[in-house]
Subunit: 395 residues, 2 copies
């Protein structure tokens, strides 16, 4: 087990009707003696409005004496140009807080705006790792799509259309001060987005699970337990349980745990699959979860011999594969195959062709993915490895 | 799943040599422009000194320009009169921070001192739930006994010799701002104390595990995984692995996770066994872990029919008991029996007579335990139930 530090300061407010607490929660965060309390209310402007959620949020803000400027239009793979619009509003209106209502895209966009509002210079520099933020506006979230784990994570991923580049900016300052998680808000989430979210949170756990670090038994157990819970409850949702509170709640809480930092204490995660997918998302605007459902099985097949027993354990503990004591590699491969079947069963693509990806651009993606150098920690991957994995995903 | 709030603000600093960071960590917490930085250094004065740990701590404090007043003499089941001495020192010397070096006793004592230093009136009132603290000095810890989980919990349990009463005072203000966990510091912990700690952390998980709340699958899985990890690594330590870093590390991190609040998100824990043990500890000065090893199996046998399948699941998932599909109650009982065997294998008592408890005082303990009313949530227990459980523990 590696030395580590762990602290997660996000206050999780979980359960039915909790969105109605948002005004009082923000009041608690803002300085006491402000003559005007004014925040950025950031969301898609689509389903958040149609569902009546934004009306309830505004009512709660009003009751708490909080004014807001509404800034809508967030899209999946949130755009840097849109972030800059938000930054301008936040600066011009002297806003004190950013509230994101939505999924990972709205939250990541809010994090970038919060950083841009109080850090001068070119905001993209922080995504290019040329500089690091030293302050940020406080952020709160009302989550509607369990997926990215951004509701209590340090991550913020934005796509700059000029490249296009999809880049992450990581800082403890990105952690929301509070996140409101009401599983009822996810009842109306389309099944495709539900599936993308489920794949994303599973990938967050698997990125951590596949490590060369030995003696990380507690986190192994926690990862496996979380994965089993996600799979079991995903099956309930996809068998007509769209409005099954219990199943939606397990998925929603698991999505936060998957990416709040707990599951990589004492170990070093891999993150090559995320990098490989970022190129897919950036070039083809593919949903992040869908890209991961394609990349992860290929990455696993490519790296399986690094530590066959770890893959066999994964197969046995997460997908109930028997036979690892006779032939670990066979069991490991069976685990990958069952994982693909699970992804397929919730409507995810598992090959590049399922998502109509133009295979001729594989060399370009392989080149782009090593922008900051080799990727991955479980096994370091260079351009050639990346190309080989994209090709495996094309088979 | 119940609505819940969860936030754990303690920064965990885990791994080898981390105690040498203590000075710089405290500096980070204290106000920047203090002309004098002065803290209470609170520990047993025994093994903490002999091991050389306190010397290293003092060196780190000195390097960070921090002065200290040393206050030693903490004992297991820390005494209220001793806490009051600490409070007087903290007030007289205008101390700004309390650093506990030791196990749960030192940490709980530090929490009580930190509360007493800045809250007026009779400090015991807070333990009698007559008043609730609204502020506290910041606390940091260097943990040497993985057990109580006090290093990142809201709990503080103190024994008032006048009763004697053993009472808890719970507040988010009790959470340490940082806790340093170096598994190497536990190499020299006597096996009896190691076993008491292991039992205590298992009990913390089981108090949460046995709940009437349905649909808490994620936390069920996390609880079971943590219990398996503790048992597996306890066996390593008790098979000559006292200096096995990996095993000590798993136990140490599990002890913190067991009681940091994560494992009861969405559910209501029971806590009757803790209450039943507090009377044992208060009257007979029995180590908390040893008392729990006696009480928990008796409590389980007494309440098994409340939800036999939950006990059968516990038996299957934690102790590998087969047969739950034929006869759940038999499997559940087999699980309790295996748990007792495990406790015995690490040198714990499992019956009152193993700890030389005077059985004639059972009625008195049963009366005392309901001081605040019926105990437990899984099943509400009155005086008669409590007596029946103590009698089961006597068999």
């Amino acid at each position: 087990m590696r030395n580590f530090e762990f602290c997660n300061t996000t206050k999780i407010i979980f359960g039915k009707d909790t969105e109605n607490q948002v005004g009082s929660e923000i009041s608690r965060v803002l300085e006491k003696n402000l003559s005007v309390k004014k925040i950025l209310l950031h969301h898609s402007g689509g389903s958040t409005v149609r569902s009546g959620l934004i009306d309830r949020v505004k009512k709660s803000l009003k009751e708490a004496g909080i004014e807001w400027v509404e800034f809508t239009g967030v899209l999946p793979n949130p755009r840097f140009s849109h972030v800059l619009e938000g930054v301008n509003i936040a600066k011009k209106e002297n806003l004190q807080f950013v509230l994101a209502v939505g999924g990972g895209s709205a939250i990541d966009s809010a994090k970038a705006i919060a950083a841009g509002a109080v850090n001068d210079g070119d905001l993209w520099d922080y995504f290019e790792r040329k500089r690091f933020i030293e302050k940020s506006l406080p952020i709160g979230t009302i989550l509607t799509i369990p997926a990215a784990g951004s509701e209590s994570s340090t991550s913020c991923v934005i796509t700059n259309e000029e490249g296009p580049w999809k880049r992450g900016m990581h800082s403890p300052l990105n952690r929301p001060v509070f996140s409101i998680l009401n599983p009822e808000l996810t009842y109306t989430l389309p099944l495709y987005q539900t599936a993308c979210g489920i794949t994303d949170m599973m990938a967050h756990i698997m990125e951590r699970y596949f490590t060369k670090e030995q003696n990380v038994e507690l986190t192994d157990e926690l990862c496996e337990g979380a994965l089993r819970t996600i799979i079991r409850n995903a099956r309930k949702i996809f068998s007509g349980g769209e409005r099954d509170y219990a199943a939606r709640a397990e998925i929603m809480w698991a999505g936060a745990i998957a990416h709040n930092g707990l599951l990589d204490t004492g170990r070093l995660g891999d993150w090559a699959s995320h990098a490989l997918d970022h190129e897919l998302s950036a070039l083809f605007d593919l949903a992040h979860g869908a890209g991961l459902a394609i990349i992860f099985p290929a990455w696993m097949r490519y790296t399986i011999k690094e530590d066959t027993l770890r893959f066999a354990r994964f197969a046995a503990k997460v997908f109930g594969v028997d036979g690892a004591y006779y032939d670990p590699e066979q069991a490991a491969l069976e685990g990958i195959s069952r994982m693909e079947n699970f992804f397929r069963s919730i409507g995810m693509p598992v090959r590049l062709k399922d998502a109509n990806i133009d295979l001729s651009r594989i060399p370009e993606m392989a080149k782009r993915v090593i922008h900051f150098g080799p990727i991955g920690n479980y096994r370091k991957l260079d351009e050639k490895d990346a190309e080989a994995i994209y090709r495996l995903a094309a088979e």
